[in-house]
């Protein structure tokens, strides 16, 4: 199991434990974590699972692919730490990861 903490824009924090391999988006949607929509179901095609991943976790998640970067341009309040949750698989190395949500997904 992998532990992940989602921090909403208003500061509310949600920590859940999920199976290894699940994406940051899917884990949030399955646990009804507010603030992540995941409209396209994980196809990197809607940019509604936008999250911020800061260090020390950022280097462990790797860099966004060009496809992901193209989609991130559609996201609101883009920052250097922006990622799409559907493109981050929760591996054992990410156990304890903390992600922050933008003010809105749409």
């Amino acid at each position: 199991m992998v532990s992940i903490t989602y921090i909403e824009h208003n500061g509310s924090s949600h920590t859940i434990e999920v199976s290894e391999g699940v994406s940051v988006m899917k884990a949030a949607v399955d646990h009804a974590i507010p603030g992540i929509d995941g409209d396209c179901g994980g196809a990197c095609a809607c940019a509604t699972c936008h999250v911020y991943v800061a260090e020390p976790w950022r280097h462990l998640t790797g860099e966004a692919s060009q496809d992901e970067k193209d989609m991130l341009e559609c996201a609101i309040d883009l920052k250097d730490e922006s990622r799409l949750g559907c493109q981050i698989a929760l591996t054992e190395a990410l156990n304890g990861i903390v992600v922050h949500m933008p003010p809105a997904q749409r």
Binding site: C40, G41, A43, A45, C46, A47, D70, C74, R106
Partner: protein, 398 residues
């Protein structure tokens, strides 16, 4: 083609006869090599398993929408559904706010009022046509004000759009004529709105907001409104009428819903799966790939049959039975991927309000035993009529 790993099956989704029960054909193809190939409409492949339909919906880079989302293509490019992400996403971002879960939920009192108004018009009479007196006007009366299209033009537009969707393979001249009429009407409407006081609807958004960094021409606005009109006039009505038909035939399910034995939330998803209002959407292959192991080439046309995916027994056991307490949440009734139906949250609220209101106000509605269902065919499949009889009730005002 001796080693072709597809099942030849000449059909198309405009065939009135096949589409009365397309599931028999889909079942047969799925039981052989599950990728079908039809020589009709220029030739197209059609996967019949849940997994392959969903994969093709999701992989927009391999299965593009830019060559058309219908087969045959509609006369104009429908925007933004006939764009691919990320350009499609940038357009859709502007439209999304009209269709959020919150927008649909906040609109529930108005939607309830429409249901009550329509039921009031027939409740004292003991019989009605649930399609033409309830579900079709209900969908249009809910959605047209959100778009900014005048309600008084509902029947005119509905008739023309029905033709544009359902008869384009059988009456080319009629199809073109109606396109011209609808284009003139909608571009005229947009031009008129430019000079009128602002209103908080989709038309206003199309006039004054930027899409991908610029404002739309009247023609592009028309291409967006036309797409949303197809959804607003010919989609959720089918789920509502199909669900009412099921409940009329299965009074035990009425009781299970009314008593709370089966939660509404799950039942609504099963009704959506079972009815699948939008059956067929086209994609075009952009690079050599495969479906079910069958090689496909650039330019090959693929028709994604959401109804076939929704009846795949590997995903939904006993798929041809409407089982209201099953978990049907993964259905592909709204498609999947970046083009997932923008109106789905409104569809769910409409379906819920329609069914709950009928069960509360007209609880013993039944369908005459001699009724033979007839379905429209094309991308959209819907009951053409649903006669119901019931114990007369009171209007809300009474």
């Amino acid at each position: 083609m001796a080693d072709a790993n597809f099942t030849p099956a000449d059909f198309n989704h405009h065939s009135v006869e096949v589409m009365q029960d397309p599931y028999a054909l889909f079942r047969e193809v799925r039981s052989k090599c599950p990728l079908g190939y039809s020589r009709e409409l220029g030739g197209f492949y059609f996967p019949t398993t849940y997994g392959e339909v969903k994969r093709a919906y999701s992989d927009f880079k391999t299965f593009t929408s830019t060559q058309g989302s219908g087969l045959p293509k509609q006369m104009v490019q429908l925007l933004p559904v006939e764009l691919d992400p990320p350009l499609q996403t940038r357009w859709r971002r502007v439209l999304d706010r009209f269709f959020t879960p919150e927008a649909a939920e906040n609109d529930r009192p108005r939607i309830q009022g429409i249901a009550d108004e329509l039921i009031d018009a027939f409740i004292t009479r003991a019989s009605a046509d649930a399609v033409n007196e309830l579900t079709r006007p209900f969908l249009a009366m809910t959605m047209l004000p959100i778009l900014g299209v005048p309600l008084e033009d509902r029947i005119m537009l509905s008739d023309k759009l029905m033709w544009m969707v359902h008869y384009r393979t059988t009456d080319q001249d009629g199809w073109v004529a109606r396109y011209m009429e609808v284009e003139a009407y909608l571009t005229g409407l947009i031009a008129k709105r430019r000079t009128e006081p602002r209103r908080p609807d989709l038309l206003q958004c199309l006039i004054e907001e930027e899409f991908d960094g610029r404002r739309l021409s009247d023609g592009e606005g028309y291409q967006v409104v036309l797409l949303t009109l197809f959804g607003a006039l010919d989609s959720t009505s089918s789920a509502m009428s199909g669900a009412l038909y099921h409940l009329a035939q299965h009074p035990e399910d009425k009781h299970r819903l009314l008593s709370g034995a089966v939660p509404w939330k799950g039942a609504l998803e099963e009704f959506l799966r079972y009815t699948t209002p939008i059956q067929a959407l086209r994609r075009t292959v952009t690079k050599p790939t495969e479906l079910d192991g069958c090689p496909l080439q650039t330019g090959d046309v693929v028709v994604l049959l959401s109804g076939a995916a929704n009846r795949d027994p590997a995903k939904f056991p006993e798929p041809d039975t409407c089982i209201i307490d099953r978990d049907a949440r993964d259905h592909l009734t709204f498609g999947a991927g970046g083009h997932v139906c923008i109106g789905r949250h409104f569809a769910r609220v409409m379906l819920e309000v329609c069914l709950k209101t009928m069960l509360r106000r007209v609880p013993d509605f039944a369908v005459p035993a001699e009724f033979v269902p007839r379905y429209t065919c094309s991308e959209a499949r819907a009951l053409t009529a649903l006669p119901i009889t019931f114990t007369p009730g009171r209007t809300m005002a009474a």
